[in-house]
Subunit: 153 residues, 2 copies
DNA sequence: TAAGATTGAGCATTCAATCTTG
DNA sequence: CAAGATTGAATGCTCAATCTTA
């Protein structure tokens, strides 16, 4: 018997499980909201910051296809995210000289400045959010989340 | 010194923190996606199921205002969620006899059946998602998430 | 036909403005 | 004017269909 929970009544146990996973969804959402609030001060959002991070992470300007893969989303989402970033003047679309079907995404100077300011804003919020957690607890949480992602991601 | 992490280089430590919190956001998202996939089979989504749960949780049909409070969202979101639920025939708007500004939200018979089917679908997915986690680990994760919510929520 | 990108429709969410009623 | 509800615009995401190029 792998878990002593089975001694509980079935209904209670189900409630506990729902509570646990709903808490995980909720925890993710409030974390995202905190990041967004911090990034708003520099004119970014978490998806926008994350996209800039991925574009800057590769040597050559990535295609939309590659960006979507890096972000773990569908192509059309990357298209629209780049639309919004371009409207903000943070990225630029350039044609791919090697394949006329593709376009390459470049980060502008302003985009790079914004990304760096965003990274500082994020770091500050992280300190605040994890303030009450010991190193062991952080590693525990990190390990559990990593296992979730490996199993389900 | 509350955490041995401080011995790491600043840059590495920041990366670890980002990784942890991004993992939390990601874990919440993939959990939500799994719930949504399971609920799709019964014609629901996680927000719709959650709304039905909250409406059924109170004695008297709640106002939109109360529903928004229960769901932890703004009024306009509750309005539109109820729009979609009503379009599906799962809830019904009725005027509040005590205050002509308010409307009350009632769950239809079909709505109640859908909610119960959704609850069974969710329970099945939960078993699957938490299969590899011991009771102690579940309690650990639950406790950490609860502390996050208390501190940030 | 395949692949890269875009567009259109829909869900879920927020904020700001508005309309009705208290 | 306050409060309840709605509407419109925006962000962010999905899927299905389309357009262009390989």
């Amino acid at each position: 018997m792998y878990c002593s929970c089975v001694n509980k009544l079935r209904a209670e146990r189900t409630e506990d499980l729902i509570a646990l996973l709903i808490a995980l969804v909720h925890g993710g959402r409030i974390t995202e909201a905190r990041f967004d609030a911090a990034l708003e001060a520099v004119g970014l959002s978490l998806p926008k910051w994350h996209a800039l991070k991925q574009i800057l992470a590769v040597e050559e300007p990535p295609t939309l296809r590659l960006l979507a893969t890096q972000l773990g989303c569908v192509k059309s989402n990357a298209t629209q995210l780049v639309d919004r970033l371009a409207a903000d003047g943070l990225v630029r679309r350039t044609p791919d000289p090697d394949d006329r079907r593709s376009i390459l995404i470049e980060v502008t100077d302003e985009g790079r400045r914004r990304y760096e300011a965003g990274t500082r804003a994020i770091a500050a919020v992280e300190e605040e959010l994890l303030e009450g957690f010991s190193c062991a607890e952080r590693q525990e949480l990190s390990g559990l989340l990593r296992r979730l992602e490996v199993r389900w991601g």
